[in-house]
Symmetry: C2
Subunit: 344 residues, 2 copies
Amino acid sequence: MADQAYRVIVVGRGAVGRELLRVMAQRGFPAREIKVLATSAGEIAVDGHTYPVAKAAPEEFDGFDLALFAGTEGEKGAAVTLSPGAIERGAIVIDNGDDFRMDPKVPLVIPEVNPEDVDQHQGMVANPNCSTIQMLVALKPLHDRAGIKRVVVSSYQSCSGAGWNAVAQLDREIEACVKGGEAPLDAFVHPIAGNVIPHIGRFSEAGYASEEEKFVRETRKIFHEPDLPVTATAVRVPTRIGHGEAVNVEFHRALSVEEAREALSQAPGVAVRDDPADNEYPMPLDAAGTDDVFVGRIRKDPTVPHGLNLWVVADNLRKGAALNAVQIAETMIARGLLRLQQRA
Amino acid sequence: MADQAYRVIVVGRGAVGRELLRVMAQRGFPAREIKVLATSAGEIAVDGHTYPVAKAAPEEFDGFDLALFAGTEGEKGAAVTLSPGAIERGAIVIDNGDDFRMDPKVPLVIPEVNPEDVDQHQGMVANPNCSTIQMLVALKPLHDRAGIKRVVVSSYQSCSGAGWNAVAQLDREIEACVKGGEAPLDAFVHPIAGNVIPHIGRFSEAGYASEEEKFVRETRKIFHEPDLPVTATAVRVPTRIGHGEAVNVEFHRALSVEEAREALSQAPGVAVRDDPADNEYPMPLDAAGTDDVFVGRIRKDPTVPHGLNLWVVADNLRKGAALNAVQIAETMIARGLLRLQQRA
């Protein structure tokens, strides 16, 4: 294996950084060396494997083939400062952050949806936002069959999407609720336990949260439909892992519930969980720690000529972030785009 | 006051029954006697007031002017068995349950929306479902101005909407999460803490939950628009009190965000909370225990000619149930429809 295996850097040791290490180990990703970059050196243990952590600096990328940037929530990612040096040194960068997703030189890729877009890379491929990924994995097989005309999506997003300090805020509030005492705010400006907060990211002049705008612009880029009508409301709910989405879709052509279910059943990365009479539908508690995008509550929306309502859930740290990034790397290997670097 | 005041029966001592007693006391409802009916006799204390509880039986309504039925979640309410006897004895029945809402002989009333419909009563007026009430209080002033063409709503509903045993399930699960141990399921067939469950009520053949169908049919009845296109996804979230709703609305005529905000600011029962840049938007934790329907995140939906997105939150036990029922009674008093009965 060593001769065909890659030297990999993971930038970031937070929720997504740890999940990148976990996913590579679980999938047997062909890495002969994995190094983590963070703000200070040391080591990090995930699932019994220990990885060295170096202080982030451009020369750390010397001789590495692949750099997976975990990205950060709500601030400029390390990719802005570090990716030019990484690419210059010959590494392929896959960035989970938001800084380059809309850059026309950077493909934005979900391997089940637009794998061929990796071919256009110029050193970097961007990983879409968690919410976009799970929605489009579910919508792709339906779009192929009936052509999407308009999407209205409302999200139910878990705290881990805002990082582990957000989960810690939820946990502290829950503990204070049971044991008494104060729970200071941290990742969220309002309490999240027992609450829902219609605020993810920053607000635009038009009143949209950046998370809502990502649904719109990323969907258009990934589907290569620059004017596709998509409108979104993004809401944080007091869950740890797993985003839910109520997706209302209008199609150009007829698509029955049965045809949609059949298409989804055959689609890569999708698991249909749709037997509500038997209390079966996707839920975050079931999706956490798994790889699939779960789709259920598939039903006709009779208020438009060709409409469906869907309920979509996935693990936002795995398919919504780390897993998709590793799958992009696997796609690039399969398409001969990830080459071993010359070594001294 | 005694001479003009009414003898009132509250049927049910659960979450809504208690809230009916609380709301009447807080509003100074003109009652000279309040008696509670339940499955067994005794008494009930709410906010320092103690009310007698009698075992439910038709003759208990003798000489009473008004009967407020709390209704039940997911099963036939006491109104089915007891309301005929109450009406026969001359009491006006206001039912919070679902059994008579779609009965053409029973007005379905939100006092801010269709108060005049009480005039058509034949002894009973029905209180709409909690989720419908808050959505229509918010939509009414917009419908008046621009004419609603289509609504897509996704709900974020609190556990108290399923009764206090549902809140107790949430609390037990949270305690088990902090202290360890098991938390048995009760009101919900899945765990609710740290989860979201896209299942409220029973499922139809078409895959819609009864809660979702209530959005459709109750909106049409209350707006007197029998074909109004409304489609809904109803989801339970781990909150105690206060339902959230992401409402996407398409109008027949132009309606700017500014016009919508102005109309909502002047609308009865509505409180606009819409300064997202200052982290101000409606949230369940703020709405719990209050009377208004809170509306925020008002923004243009550019994917249709005349579209808006709104975020609506209200206390499901108060405006969503008990308060609206008491307001119906007050409306009937104001319109001379609630008359004191002859007394022996």
